[in-house]
């Protein structure tokens, strides 16, 4: 049993094995997400980042191993209990039926409400605050099917922010977004993790965003091989070149470190 003097990680993964058909995504993965940590999940295309995220969210079963959420085994929790603590932004959000943006964001409150009860004014305020944070307040009465790709992405984020989970899994949160909105969203997520002791775990394609917004990274090399650790220790030329199977150079100035693809002139 957990007690308050000994804190436990928000999400604790032991000996996890995940595979798609015969292809291994991770073998014997050990992972602990502590409050205040922002994890980046890096790996080449098709290595199974989305599959791993779905497994961590409990909507896909693992071959082996256990996942504990707030010190409770996840496979023994109801979906509702999980959704109160853990949220996930999927890669593509499609809205089947028309609803306005406020109603869509409000669906994030679903796990927190009783099955037979309605939303309160407090729930609505949370949804409005999330829309405001993501710069969608002026669209709250607009239908969610009439949004641009970037606006849809931000609406999906507003929904998970309204859900307000301790552990937030994000599958490429910056998809479809221009640089300004990428920064806005990552800053917003970063503040959330730092100021209110949450944890997040996000699949990213942009290494340079990972250097700015991740305290830790998990790298997936394929065939079940993985490395996890502090971002500062793992994000270097050797590791990244091995990870992506191409030459990656580091460029440094006084302000920051940038990783770039080495062109043909730089073997």
């Amino acid at each position: 049993m957990s007690n308050s003097s000994q804190p436990s990680p928000l999400l604790h993964v032991t000996d996890l094995a995940v595979s798609i058909d015969a292809c291994h995504v991770v073998d014997r993965l050990q992972l602990a997400l502590w409050p205040g940590q922002s994890w980046g999940l890096l790996g080449p295309n098709g290595v199974g980042k989305t599959t791993l995220l779905s497994t961590l969210a409990g909507i896909r079963s693992a071959d082996q191993g256990t996942i504990r959420l707030n010190d409770q085994p996840m496979d023994r929790m109801t979906r509702k209990a999980i959704a109160k603590k853990l949220g996930m932004l999927t890669q593509n959000t499609r809205f089947a039926f028309d609803a306005d943006c406020l109603e869509t964001a409000l669906s994030g409150r679903h796990p927190h409400l009783g099955s037979w009860s309605g939303e309160t004014e407090g729930d609505r305020m949370q949804a409005r605050a999330a829309l405001e944070q993501l710069g969608l307040a002026h669209l709250s009465a607009r239908s969610c099917t009439q949004l641009s790709g970037g606006e849809q992405r931000r609406l999906a984020l507003a929904t998970v922010l309204t859900q307000n989970p301790d552990v937030l899994l994000l599958d490429e949160p910056t998809n479809h977004l221009d640089p300004a909105h990428q920064l806005e969203i990552l800053n917003c997520l970063w503040r959330r993790v730092k100021n209110s002791a949450r944890a997040q775990f996000m699949a990213l394609h942009d290494i340079n965003l990972a250097t700015c917004y991740c305290t830790h990274v998990l790298m997936l090399f394929g065939n079940g091989r993985w490395r996890a650790g502090k971002a500062g220790e793992l994000l270097n030329e050797t590791m990244l070149s091995e990870l992506y199977q191409c030459n990656i150079r580091v460029i440094q100035d006084e302000q920051q470190t940038v990783f770039a693809i080495a062109g043909p002139g730089n073997p």
């Binding site: 979906r79 959704a83 999927t90 499609r94 609803a99 679903h110």
Partner: protein, 321 residues
Amino acid sequence: MPIPGAYRSWFLLALAILLGSSLLFSLAFGSSGWLWPLDPAHHTIVFELRWPRAVAAAITGGLLAIAGALMQVLLRNPLADPYVLGVSGGASAFVLTGFLLGLAWLPVPLLAFCGACISMAIVFVLGRGPGPWSSLRMLLTGVVIAAGWGAIITLLLALGPDRSLRGMLYWLMGDLSYAGLSAWWLLPMLGVTLILALRGRSLNIMTAGETQAALLGENTQRRHLELYLVASLLTALAVSIAGSIGFVGLVVPHLVRLIISNDHRWLIPASALFGASFLVLADTLARTVLSPRQLPVGVVTAIIGVVLFLILLYRSGRHVA
């Protein structure tokens, strides 16, 4: 553009008034012309013929509209409908087969429920298949199944005794001429509507898709099974009352969506009320338009439904492209 949320309860009230006036209209108007219901001279016609039939029409309409709305959630497709997907056909075919095999001692709704469940299972398994959702595959599966049941019913009618033929035709097209229900049946109907409306938030979440619904805390497998059983049961009850009446489950929720948005907490009660009024009016039309001859009400709903279905299909095709 749907009406603002604050006006939704007024819209429900308007629909309730519509249902009341439709019932009154169907009592007063018929093949014997206008009759004032409270005149004792007309008591027999009004209260023993028109009233039970109007109640049966209201209940059948409500059942079909709700069944349609639930199937649309289950299959995540606004074109789903008990008749189009062959669920009503399955229920009818089972009831008829049961009769011919001498199983008439079984309750009709039970036979209909088995048929509806089998039909739904076929559409659900084959029409979904692996991979992403395809409206086209689902509709094709449903339409083919419906045609198959239609053929079986025709065969059964051809094999059956001649004198019962006219009475049995309604399993194919839906007819309220032989139907009559006591007004007490409106109470369980009200109960079902209320329960589903209160669980409307879960229905809303289910329309976002299986993954999203699971992430927001719904036990999707259990919810699917519940939806599947309830939609089959409501269809089966409707078929037991009046045979397979088409397109009510498609037309009614669609029109209601346009006015009241897709929030199922409002959509379900509004569909039930509007579906009930729609079928009461359609049946009044069916028994008066060519009077003294009476048309099966399924003919009237099909004429309206087919046109709207084609418009919807055309518009959804453009959206996909």
